[in-house]
């Protein structure tokens, strides 16, 4: 997994899946369409503001609410390279890993990092360098099982490999 570099978009606690992608757009599962409405009630014209690689930083319980995988898909295709949060809602966490979007639990970092900071993240090690403030943080490392899924690029390629091998 490569080192990720980007600018921070900072969000608060309990950002729910309706805010990430409103249900009014769920009549499609096209990634580009979903991405064009990502977080739109919170950050209008997000698509004009994000540069590929940028990083979402949030508070507690990020992604609470619905099971819609459309939410991490919208984030991924909007151009974000990863998400850092103090904690995640369970289904969102699983979904992000499953579609190959690295998401890291990093409470200390998330409290300190500010909007617009420039970060460098090593998702494999969970290390976070804030180039704006020259501070360094350590997020929680992924359990080996989850790392394996991320390294395959998501759950489907991971399972497809196994199916091909016949186990």
């Amino acid at each position: 997994m490569q080192i990720l570099k980007g600018r921070v978009f900072k969000l608060g606690d309990d950002i729910d899946t309706d805010l990430i992608i409103a249900a009014r757009y769920l009549n499609s599962s096209e990634p580009e369409y979903l991405a064009s409405h990502c977080l739109e009630d919170l950050i209008p014209q997000l698509d004009e503001k994000v540069n590929p690689g940028d990083i979402l930083v949030a508070g507690r319980n990020f992604g609470c609410g619905s099971s819609r995988e459309h939410a991490p898909i919208a984030i991924k295709y909007a151009g974000f390279s990863c998400v850092l949060a103090e904690s995640y809602a369970r289904i969102f966490y699983r979904n992000a890993i499953n579609i190959g979007l690295p998401i890291i639990v990093a409470p200390e970092a998330c409290r300190a990092i500010k909007e617009g900071d420039k970060l460098e993240v090593d998702p494999r090690e969970g290390t976070i360098i804030n180039h704006t403030t020259s501070e360094q943080y350590k997020g929680e490392p992924f359990p080996p099982f989850i790392l394996e899924i991320l390294l395959s690029g998501g759950l489907i390629p991971h399972v497809a490999e196994k199916v091909k091998k016949g186990d």
Partner: protein
Amino acid sequence: MGMTIAEKILAAHAGLSKVTPGELINAKLDLVLANDITGPLAIKEFRKIGLDLVFDKNKVVLIPDHFAPAKDIKSAEQCRDIKEFSREQDLAHYYEVGRNGIEHCFLPEQGLVVPGDLVIGADSHTCTYGGLGAFSTGVGSTDLAVGMAMGEIWFRVPESIKFVLTGKPKNKWVSGKDYILAIIGKIGVDGAQYKAMEFTGEAVTNLSVDGRLTMANMAIEAGAKAGLIAPDDKTIEYVKDRAKKPWKVYESDADAKYSEVIEIDVTDLEPQVAFPHLPSNTRSVADSTHVKIDQVVIGSCTNGRFEDLQIAAQIMKGKKVHPDLRAIVIPGTQQIYMQAVNAGLVQIFVEAGAVVSTPTCGPCLGGYMGILAKGERAVSTTNRNFVGRMGHPESEVYLSNPAIAAASAVLGRIASPEEVL
């Protein structure tokens, strides 16, 4: 050391004699569910796995209910996609509009889920079936695709929190909805994150099966993986004529280990209202009566069952919906709709000036059939009041039980049934 009901069901499906919280297991699934929103995405992912057929054509359920009957062309295409896949795979359990209902009302009603089952659904409220003593949990479309293909997926065994609800509420309008809102108000929207909630105590056993399904339904609103109620005679009475397969009763051992035990005396509990924009933002109805509203929705997988409609009708009978307000009643399934017709409830609602819709998720997720304009407020018996959940980002949703919703429909503001009757 004993095991909880959640641990027992997971262990049994993983072929293990014992599991402990934190352990990662692969477990076999009894049922896999998706709808018109999550199904198309799951099918797309399923195609990439490299298998032609689902693991068992009798264990995959697809139901168009969210934007169905289709609200627009795109929705129609999503509904078509899951139907075509059902036909291609010869699925035994695809249910078309007119013979279905909201998935979490429909599956228990039809006996498609039974006590002891392990179920995943690409819908967060799949946790509803915990009300029957099944372990059921919401997943995303990719997990579902893998479930459809392999018939098993990985789980992290959750810790359990035990809730002991004692006493009998003095206020006769207090229901399962109020218990669960009070619990979420107490522990917060991440209070049971990654955990299983187990609901016990006389107040829970006194609930009907409908009331228990309502409680389990909202476990996800506290971040939980599942919400479980051990089956008893009432459960078996409910299940025995519906079950399409054998069931198995699991109960927690007396020495099972919980991360926490929370006791709540419901004797003095008042009906609850969750204010915008979190289900945990609860107040008693008495502290909420100043809020003027534009719409009432009675329905959803939380409170769209027959008992819910009965209670609402009892309050709206012979009354009129407030002139400035829309009341929308949505029976959860076709069968509940028919029951409501036969019991004269539909007539009561229509005479009162309410709209009675065909079963659908509709307004619950801001789909259609009652979307809020900027600045509008609704009282709704649904389960989420997030920003923009029912329409415009500057609209508001207040969650309540059906009795409060019905009384509010009559008075045009949040109200107690006592103010109407």
